[in-house]
């Protein structure tokens, strides 16, 4: 039985999904803060939000790298 493989699949799934979701959630939250009208938000919120989304974008690109066999053969 390939228990080790199963375990590593579970671990990799957990790690990658949590990373992407946490980053994206931060992005969404920071965008929301940056969009607040009342207590004017700090100037760094919006750039930081975009950085979060950009890192998620890299995760998507890594996904593409994994999907397309041309890149890793």
């Amino acid at each position: 039985m390939k228990w080790l493989e199963l375990l590593s699949v579970a671990g990799a799934t957990l790690l990658s999904a949590v990373t992407v979701v946490v980053l994206y959630a931060f992005g969404v939250r920071l965008t929301a803060i940056a969009g607040d009208i009342r207590n004017s938000p700090a100037s760094w919120t919006r750039p930081l939000a975009y950085t979060c989304f950009a890192v998620c974008g890299f995760a998507i690109l890594f996904g593409l790298y994994l999907i397309i066999p041309y890149f890793h053969n």
Binding site: V9, T13, A17, V28, A32, I37, C56, I60, I68, Y70
Partner: protein
């Protein structure tokens, strides 16, 4: 016989496509991230592209579940024909019932049944069945569901906004998750194209090799690749709306942040499983993610009755497809008349189910009811809103 097997394989590819549209596109459709018709079109295009990206086909039909090869048994086109028949009929039945179920497991079931009836019980590798079908069916939903549960919890915790002084809920502004959904679901659709179209290419190529029209060990021919890619894309575009309804609304109500968490878990699990050597079924991963995300969001419930029906469907996948496969294999053994009877009966069964499905039509327009939150409550952009406030105070 070869022509018959190829057309059947292409039809299986078609059912595979429309059965699995839901895996990628049910949640973005349910949250309104993508319009239903656009979603299936996007999935179809990505499946088409995916099919061309990966044409390195399998060396064996069953991936080791049947002891084939040099020191094993010879899988004849007859056996493949019978196996495909079992898989297709099971796919049609589960579609009619709106149950997401794994197309590859249906194919395995059909082939096992056909091999037992046509060759004998010694041809089946039972340890391989345990490892490739039964264990994944248990662990795929558990892994994906657990991860999706955690991700949903995190996504909501991180984006919940309260006024620091009064503790009142502020506008949560979670609509941004919709944009993310487009990307994650596209990734799932592309991965599906590279995996599943390839299976059919493998079958057709192996049949052509066994018929002697193509040298052994050679890759799929261009017309095989094109036909398989088109079949899966058309199937995806046809959209198994019944299954989309189940996955998008039947199991639980899906909201953007939750849908994003579910899809990220699905995409991660699929990519991890295909690169770390433990194959998991896309359908089972996706169903698990939706259930897990439903458990993770407060104020929603998972309809466990529906989840139970799906689990029951998975339990029956192997035996049911196997029985049809076995019966077809027995018929085919009797000679040409048997093949004709099997082909006619199979076509009649598919046609009957299609006609039956027309009685209660489920299409892109009524698959999932979407609350158009985005249109009902429009938030003004920061600048224009600030201007409005300024103007208001100036007038006063």
């Amino acid at each position: 016989m070869v022509a018959l097997v190829i057309s059947l394989a292409l039809f299986f590819d078609f059912t595979n496509g429309f059965h699995d549209t839901a895996n990628a596109m049910a949640t973005p459709i349910a949250t309104g991230a993508i319009k239903p018709k656009t979603a299936v079109a996007l999935a179809a295009v990505l499946n088409l592209v995916g099919a061309f990206l990966s044409t390195e086909v399998a060396k064996t039909v069953s991936g080791g579940i049947i002891k084939e090869g040099a020191d094993g048994v010879q899988i004849t086109p007859d056996i493949i024909f019978a196996g495909l028949m079992g898989a297709i009929l099971w796919n049609m039945i589960t579609w009619l019932k709106g149950l997401p179920s794994s197309s590859s497991h249906a194919l395995f079931g059909g082939l096992i049944g056909a091999a037992i009836a046509g060759i004998g019980i010694h041809s089946v590798n039972f340890e391989s069945i345990l490892q490739k079908v039964i264990l994944p069916a248990v662990f795929a939903p558990v892994i994906a569901g657990g991860v999706a549960y955690l991700c949903t919890r995190l996504a909501y915790a991180l984006t919940s906004r309260h006024d620091p002084e009064t503790g009142d809920k502020l506008t949560q502004k979670r609509g941004g998750f919709r944009t993310g959904q487009v990307f994650t679901s596209s990734l799932v659709a592309l991965a599906h194209g590279t995996n599943d179209a390839q299976k059919t290419m493998g079958i057709i190529t192996l049949v052509l090799i066994s018929a002697g029209t193509q040298p052994a060990g050679s890759g799929p021919q261009w017309w095989v690749i094109t036909a398989c890619a088109l079949a899966i894309a058309v199937g995806t575009y046809a959209g198994g709306w019944r299954i989309i309804r189940t996955m998008g609304a039947g199991l639980t109500e899906v909201k953007p942040a939750q849908g994003f968490a579910a899809e990220t878990s699905t995409a991660s699990a699929i990519l991890a499983s295909s690169h770390l050597g433990f194959a998991l079924s896309t359908t089972q991963v996706a169903s698990g993610s939706v259930i897990g995300s439903g458990m993770g969001r407060r104020g929603t419930t998972v309809r466990w009755g529906m989840a139970g029906r799906i689990a029951l469907g998975w339990l029956f996948t192997l035996p049911a497809a196997g029985i049809v496969g076995a019966l077809t294999a027995l018929l085919v053994q009797t000679g040409v008349a048997g093949v004709v009877i099997a082909a006619v009966a199979g076509t009649a069964a598919v046609a009957y189910m299609f006609v039956h499905s027309r009685k209660s039509h489920v299409g892109h327009n009524n698959a999932v009811q979407i609350e158009e939150v985005g249109q009902a409550v429009q938030f003004r952009k920061k600048k224009s809103a600030a201007k409005a406030i300024k103007n208001g105070s100036a007038k006063r």
